[in-house]
Every structure is written in structure tokens, then in C-alpha cells.
């Protein structure tokens, strides 16, 4: 049972990161970033390049992933948000553009890096392992939880207290109000997609400790991030964390008692049930103001 708890905590941290990125983009800018998967894989490759070319130091590799994520976020802002902001058919066009971007990205990775799996050097092997009940808590898990906690705290403090952060929060609440107080949506978009990219990039490095990196490795995190973001209610950061926990628990329990092949099926059942009971997710109330 404690094994399930350890897996759950580990997955919660990672899913929450991806989902926070997706959710924040939706709430602040009103579009669903379907290219989060490509940002993820790009950040993973970025961090992998850093670890093979520059240094295998934990902080350097993590920063490498986060910075690549931020660059990718800015790229999405430049190629999707800025050209489409305020244009007709916004909803379907942003989905199409981000999907197109991910199609391009995956194929560029395939071309440049080939289909081979890349593996990270273990980043957290210097952390101690310890036993919790009958489960072994690997150093990777400890590292994941600490790194997530540190980065999320820094970002939350930044968003909670800085001027740009207030702009971002205001934008998630009312686009008109934000414009009336002088917040430039386009500048704030870089902040939002940058933060979102940083989260996704961090998740990529952390999950890269457990899974290999390959061109399509962003697909599953994208799908799960979307599931979590929607389950939590788009735009709700607290909802995203709760939903990440639910999804992680569901996955850990399925892994433990049924086996890996069933994960998607139980997950699908879970989202069907939750969305049918609460069509806007666990805490989704913001969608009414944005839709």
C-alpha cells in the first residue's frame, strides 16, 4: 500500500506540473495548448543535450530543461498566440495551429535526433534512499518531489507578489478588466507561456529520470496533462493539483492491482465519471466567463 502512496506522490508532482502549464494558458490566454507535448519533448532533448555536452550537475540539467521549456513557450506565443489574438474563429484556429506545431515539432525531433531512445544520467543518485513502511522510496522520487516543490513555490511567490504576476492573475479573471488597467495582453502572454514552458520543461527532466526520451515522448504527458487540467477545471490551479492527485492515485492503483495495460482504460473511466457528474471539472467555474 505504501508503494501506491509513493508512486502517487511522484506522479502527482509531474502531472500537476504539465497540467498547471496547460491550465494557466487556458485561463490567461483562452486557448488549449496542444503543443505542450512538443514543448515537453523539446525540453527533454534540451536537458539531455545539456547533460551530455555541458554538465551533469543537477541544477544545470534542471535549468537546461526549464530554460528550453521557456524558449518553447515563447515560440508558441510568437507563432500561435500573437498572430491569432483577436481574430475570428479563435477556438478552432488555436487548436489547429498548436496541433500543426506539434506535428512539425515531432517530425523535426525524429529527423534531428532519430527514433533512438535517449537516457538521462541519474540526477538524484546523491540523495539517500529510504524505506517507508514496506516500500523503498527511491532517490529519484525524493528528488522529483523536492524539485517540484521548490520550482512551484518560486513561481507561485513570483506570480503572487510581482507586478507582472498580478497582470497574469488579472488576465485569467477578466480580459476586459485587464485591458482597462493597462495590462498588455501580448506581453503578459509571454509571461504566461514562459511559466507554462518552465513547468513543462521541469516535468520533462523529472519524468526523463524514469522514462526514455524519444520524439513522441511528449504525447502521453500531453494527454495526461490535458486530462488533469480538464478534470481539475480549466483555469483552476488548485483544481489542477487535486485532479493530478486523483489521476496519479488512479494510475498507481491500476498499476498495482491490474497491470500497466489497464491504466488508460481506468483513467478513461475516471474522467468519464467525473466529467459526467461535474461537466466543468472539479473546480471549473472560470470557463463560463471565458467561453
Amino acid at each position: 500500500m505504501t508503494g501506491v502512496i509513493v508512486t502517487t506522490i511522484n506522479l502527482t508532482a509531474i502531472y500537476a506540473l504539465v497540467a498547471l502549464g496547460i491550465s494557466l494558458t487556458w485561463a490567461g490566454l483562452g486557448f488549449l495548448n496542444m503543443s505542450a507535448g512538443v514543448m515537453y519533448a523539446g525540453a527533454a532533448y534540451g536537458a539531455w543535450l545539456v547533460s551530455t555536452e555541458i554538465s551533469t550537475n543537477v541544477v544545470v540539467v534542471l535549468l537546461g530543461g526549464i530554460l528550453t521549456g521557456i524558449v518553447f513557450g515563447a515560440l508558441v506565443c510568437l507563432t500561435v498566440f500573437l498572430p491569432l489574438d483577436g481574430k475570428p474563429n479563435w477556438e478552432i484556429r488555436t487548436i489547429t495551429a498548436t496541433l500543426a506545431l506539434s506535428f512539425v515539432g515531432v517530425n523535426i525531433y525524429q529527423w534531428k535526433f532519430g527514433p533512438q531512445f535517449k537516457q538521462f544520467e541519474p540526477l538524484f543518485s546523491w540523495l539517500p534512499q529510504f524505506r517507508l513502511g514496506d516500500a523503498l522510496v527511491k532517490s529519484t522520487v525524493t528528488g522529483t518531489v523536492i524539485a517540484t516543490a521548490v520550482v512551484v513555490t518560486i513561481v507561485l511567490i513570483y506570480i503572487g507578489s510581482s507586478r507582472i504576476g498580478l497582470g497574469v492573475r488579472a488576465l485569467t479573471q477578466s480580459a476586459e478588466g485587464a485591458a482597462l488597467v493597462g495590462i498588455n495582453r501580448r506581453t503578459a502572454a509571454f509571461a504566461i507561456l514562459g511559466v507554462s514552458g518552465a513547468f513543462v520543461g521541469l516535468a520533462a527532466v523529472l519524468l526523463g529520470q524514469t522514462f526514455f526520451v524519444e520524439p513522441n515522448s511528449g504525447y502521453v504527458p500531453l494527454i495526461k496533462g490535458l486530462i488533469v487540467a480538464l478534470l481539475g477545471g480549466l483555469g483552476s490551479l488548485r483544481g489542477a493539483v487535486i485532479a493530478a492527485f486523483m489521476v496519479a492515485l488512479c494510475e498507481a492503483l491500476t498499476l498495482q492491482y491490474f497491470g500497466g495495460a489497464w491504466v488508460l482504460i481506468t483513467l478513461f473511466l475516471l474522467i468519464s465519471i467525473v466529467l459526467i457528474i461535474r461537466p466543468r471539472g472539479v473546480a471549473g467555474v472560470l470557463e463560463t466567463t471565458r467561453a
Binding site: W26, L32, T79, V80, P83, L84, G86, K87, P88, N89, E91, I92, R93, I95, T96, A97, L99, A100, L101, F103, V104, V106, N107, I108, Q110, W111, S174, A175, E176, A178, A179, R185, Y219, I223, L226, I227, L230, L234, A261, L264, I265, L267, F268, I271, S272, L275, I276, P279, R280, G281, E287, A291
Partner: protein, 432 residues
Amino acid sequence: MPKRSADLVHYAVLAVVFLIALAVPFVFGTLSILGSMTVFLLLLSWSISWRQGDKVSSDGKPDRSSWLFWAMAGVIAIVIPIIAGTPFLLATMVAFFIYLTWNTMWGLVLGTAGLQSFATVAVAGIAGYAAAYMTIDIANSNAAAAGAECSGNRLLGLPVVDWWLAIPIAAVVGLVVGFLISLPAIRLRGIYFALLTIGLVELCRAYTGQDKCNLGGAQGLFGASSFIPSEMMGSATGYRYAYAAAVLLAIVTLLIYWKVNYGRLGLLLRTARESEPVAEVLGVDVVRARMWVFLISSSMLGVAGGFYVSYYKSISPNFFNFSTVLLLFAMVVIGGLNSPRGILIGTMLLMFVDRRFVDVSPPEARFIFIGLLLLVVTLLASGGLVSVPDQLRHRLMSKGKRGSGPSAGLPEEVGAIAQEANMPPGSRPGTG
């Protein structure tokens, strides 16, 4: 009569373009006819929309002059096997018509009804698997291969049937799946529904890859009964036969699209798409209308799924790959998902690009190109390629500056003003 002569010049130019398009395959090989005809049809569509002006919106009733477009499309369908009837091109065209069927039916859900469903591939694939299962005795052939794991019995003791029964069965399976998908659509909106349907496709891929005993696992099912008589198989006649059948499939599909989109149901769906509360106040049974569009489109998706299996004689979990979803989605939106012309042109264009650059090295270049094409069209054209004339005209006619601020709903007073407004002549056309 200046207008008369302008018309003459106009048609003469189009005729010349058509002749050039006809000549292209003799110079650049048979496949290029798909590309040249795409260009011709796009130009034709643009000229029709441009001349038609604001009289009818591209989304509303069938425009009067669009008969010319469809007549030319018909002519092209007849001309292709005559002047470029190589087995390779005919095979490409059969695939094209199957895609066209799926895309047109998807357009009904995505465009007319405005429901963000990505389940098209799942419906077609499930129906295809059903058709394949019905015509292949996999249980017996697999029991030997997989050993004691598999029971060797068919599900429910189903008999093995021929293609002519398998395709109607696929239609019924499509109908049932469509019904099941329409249930959450009643409650879920927009993005939530999109996610659920993407999840469904992913689920199909995971499941079909797992089930070795009934669905053949990762290899899938092969050896399905084909509608091409065995003596024609592989021959030029066989390909022409398949081509004719595929054209028939596409015609039926387009007629269904026409009937739904421009009929009562289409009107109800569009009303509900623009504003659900308004539709409800007007007495539109939104739930019923949406259920109908799912039932109609899904059964046709099922037919095309069955047709696919019967033509290729196999289906595998790769059918449910996300790249399939992406390719079909690109086909639907690149031309313009609100009109059958747009879907036809988009499907032709990407089919051509996909096949033309199939042996380009590196192989990724083709997909990168398709992705960039989709991105550029999406960023520049508000409603796909066919909407370009409307967009240009709006830009030329709008004298006033468009507000760049976030237009978050209209202030309350606008409703009151609109009621007594005598819309001034020559005012800006609507943006909707």
C-alpha cells in the same frame, strides 16, 4: 453589355486553367493530376465566392453558382480514370474518396454542429474492425498461433460473412458507437468533449493492440473479404471497379452532407452552435438535433470504415494513431470546415502532398511540410483556404478600424439599439 463580356472572359480564363490542369499529368506524371485539379478547383471556388459577394454567406444556403463547382468536380472524377488511369493513381483516388467520406462526415459534426469531436477515427476504426472481424475467422487461425491462451471460439458464436453483409454491419456498429458518443456530448462542452473523444481514440489503439485473440493484437486483422471479385484482383479492371465503387461512396456521402447541412437539421445545428440559449428559446431541441447528427455521420463513417477494410483487406491498431487523427484533421480544416467545397479541396490538397512527397528524404520532411502548410493557412485564413475571398472582401470593405481590444461581449445597450436600428446602407458587413 460589359457585364456579359466580363463573364465571358471569366469563364474563358477558367476553361484555360482547366485545360492546363488536364495537360499537367502528361508532363509531370499521373499523380500530378491530383495537384493540378486541386489548384483548378480552388481557383474555381475562389472565383465563385468572389463574384457571388455577400449575397449568400459561405455557411448558409447552397449558393446558386456552386452547381458549376460540383459539375466540374464530377467531370474531374470521370476524366481522371480516362486520362490518368494507372493502378497507382486509381489506388490513390480510392483512398482519397474514403478519406473524403470520413472528412465530410467529420465536417458535419465539427463545422455545422460545432461540436469538437475527434472521435471520427475511433468510429470508423471500430466499425472497420467489426467488418474485418465478421469476415475473418480469426479465432480459429489464431488459436493455433497463440496457443492455449485463446479459446478458439468466436465472440457470441458469430458467423463469418461476406463483404456485402459486413459493410452494413459496420454501418450499424458505427451507428451504435455514434449513439454512445453523442451521450456525453449532451453535457460536455467544447474542449471537454474534444478531450474525451481524443481519449477514446487512444483507448481504441491501446485495446486493439492488447487483444491478440479476437483482434490480432499489434498485427491487426488481415485477409478480410474484398468487394473486388477475386478474378479482377490486382488487374486494371479491378482498380477501375474499386474506383467506381469509391466514387459512389463519395457521392452518397456528399448527398447526405447536402441534405443535412442545408436542410432543417443543419439550420437547427447552426442555430445551436451560434447560441445555445437562443436556440432553446426558439424551441430547438438541441439534444435531439445533436444526437441526430452523430447518428447520421457515424453510420456513414461506419460504412466507409467497412469499405476501407473491404478494400485494403486489413486493419491494425496503427489506424488509431494520433498521426491519423492529425492528418484527417488537417484535411478537414485546411480547406475550410464549414463548406463541402473546403473539405473536398483540403482533402485533395493534403492527399496530393502526402503521396507526391512520399519518397522524399528525409521522410520527416513531408510531415514537416504538411504541418507548416497547415500552420500558415490557419494563421492567415480565418476559415480555411476557401474563405480567402470573403476575408479579402471584408478587409477591403471595412472602412473603420477594427477594435483591437478584447471584445468581451457587447454592452447591454446594444440589444436595445439593434432593435430599433434601421441598419444604414453600406455599413460594414457582419463579422460572424
